[in-house]
């Protein structure tokens, strides 16, 4: 029997009469770079919101590393090794770039409650934040207000915050949206690096099929809140239903 890092069974979420996620059962294995694709309104972001605790399912369960986390709040899931980025930019705009990355590092060390220590004296967290600053290529902007960064740099920063908690599983909702090719390569390179070095499992929601097919080892196609297809990029490319519903002649 396959041991899943994250497993869902019969996950369902309705808004009024609309079933945004209609009974999704799937398992994610450790180390597999996966992508969730589908047309707008297919239920991709709702599914991620259910898996990360932003929404509570009507029915169904979510298990992470064998533990039932269906009712665990978001911050509790992060402590267990889950993380995410958002479709709409979500950073700390009034803090500096460095402080943005310091927060997950402090949290990982359980230092948020310290009211007497000076931030400069948090050597471990500072070193971790600085390492991440270099990795995402924002070292030169470390003292800048995060809200003043370009769109692409803000996306990179958000990715940095998401991986700053050193997650085992990280969901990225349209991580390359609005990025230029160089920034896109930085994001993809970082994901590959962290996937290899830290064994972080990434799941991306992405509309850019070039990104999806160049990166993902497994693709889940959603439509009308259900899983339409699930397989390797080659299998998805060859799937007639997927081609007709979503991909068309694109790939």
């Amino acid at each position: 029997m396959t041991e899943y890092l994250l497993e869902t069974k019969g996950l369902r979420k309705t808004f009024g009469r609309l079933a945004a996620v209609a009974g999704v059962s799937l398992g994610l294995t450790e180390g597999t770079l996966a992508a969730v694709i589908g047309p707008n309104g297919a239920g991709k972001t709702t599914l991620i919101n259910l898996l990360t605790g932003l929404l509570t399912p009507d029915t169904g369960t979510v298990r992470f590393k064998g533990e039932d986390i269906t009712r665990v709040p978001s911050h509790g899931r992060v402590r267990r090794g889950l993380s995410r980025s958002f479709q709409i930019m979500n950073i700390f705009p009034n803090l500096t770039v460095r402080q943005n990355l310091l927060l997950p590092a402090l949290s990982r060390r359980g230092r948020n409650l310290h009211a007497v220590a000076r931030l400069e004296d948090e050597t471990g967290a500072n070193a971790e934040a600085e390492e991440l600053l270099r990795e995402i290529g924002l070292w030169d902007h470390r003292g800048a207000r995060a809200g003043a960064l370009s769109h692409g740099d803000q996306r990179l920063l958000e990715l940095g915050i998401a991986v700053g908690t050193r997650p085992k599983l990280c969901f990225l909702d349209e991580p390359c949206a609005g990025m230029n090719p160089i920034e896109r390569q930085t994001v993809l390179g970082l994901m590959r690096k962290l996937s290899g070095q830290r064994r972080t499992t990434f799941v991306i929601v992405e509309h850019d099929m070039d990104v999806v097919f160049s990166l993902a080892e497994r693709i889940v196609v959603m439509n009308h809140g259900e899983v339409l297809a699930d397989g390797t990029p080659a299998e998805i490319r060859e799937n007639r239903v997927v081609r007709e519903t979503y991909l068309g002649a694109e790939v």
């Binding site: 700390f92 705009p93 949290s107 009211a115 007497v116 000076r118 003292g143």
Partner: protein
Amino acid sequence: MGEGPVASPGRRRIVTPGRSAIGGLVLALLLLPLVGGQYAQYVAIQVLILSLFALGFNILFGYTGLLSFGQAGFYAVGAYGCAKLLLLTPSLLFGVVGGTLLAGAAALVLGVLCIRHTRIYFSMLTLAFGMMIFSMALKWRDFTGGDDGLVGIPRAPLEIPGLVSVSMASMGRYYYFVLAVSLVAIAIAYRLVHSPLGLTFQGIRDSEGRMAFTGVSVRTYRLIAFVIAGLYAGLAGALLPALENTVTPPVAHWTTSADPVLATLLGGIQAFAGPIVGAFLYFMIKDVIVRFTEYWLIWLGIIVVVLVMGFRGGVVSLATARWRVHRPGREGA
């Protein structure tokens, strides 16, 4: 709230313009009783009390992003609590510490209910609870003295049993006591906002959702900020009875909650010193305008409107902006 390049400890300058200004200000405050009369000392105590009140309010508003309209409730709990304790046992330290802790306890209890909400819902809840405390001050005659309030509160000596007993009968001595308490409280607040806890508050202000996804229980930290603001409001209130020798229900009224809001907006929400500078300006404006018209609040309102519309960062940000214009090379990386 920007951040410069990471400075090595060895390169830190001992004397900076900021530190010189703070040193000069503290020296001026220490010398005040020697050059100013009783009225100057009385006003200075009022400024210090409002500074503490506004400083706590700004930890909640400026740093955590929660606008409370009910801080006067905790200010009143501190004032009434201290007054009752002073009437019970004539020990200033006992009264002030007791009043402060009572306000903190009230903030903890009401905070559990308030911090479940944000934005206008949070503000309205705090306003409602603040006015409930006002109603208690007004109606619970047996405990609070009702309309008449509590009168004849002694300015009890500062007594540490078996160690020291200092009479606080003169205004000058009480001024030094309030100054010492204020300086310690300001230093604690300064350390707090520059600590990991302070950065966590700022993260919550900027994005609660993002903060939750760094592994932080946002509600818990909102409650901590609420209790800290309650403790500071309580401390400010607890310093009042020994000054006025009386405590009356208006200290709990929502208009008293507006005082720290106005002081913070005047000084600036984005700077640590904003509420302190704002408290000073609030009393200066009041003192100057009241000589020409009794409608001084209208003029204060106009000044606040101009500041909010034109200079959102308040007076402190205006001053720091001018400083940066003259020192362009100091911009951080």
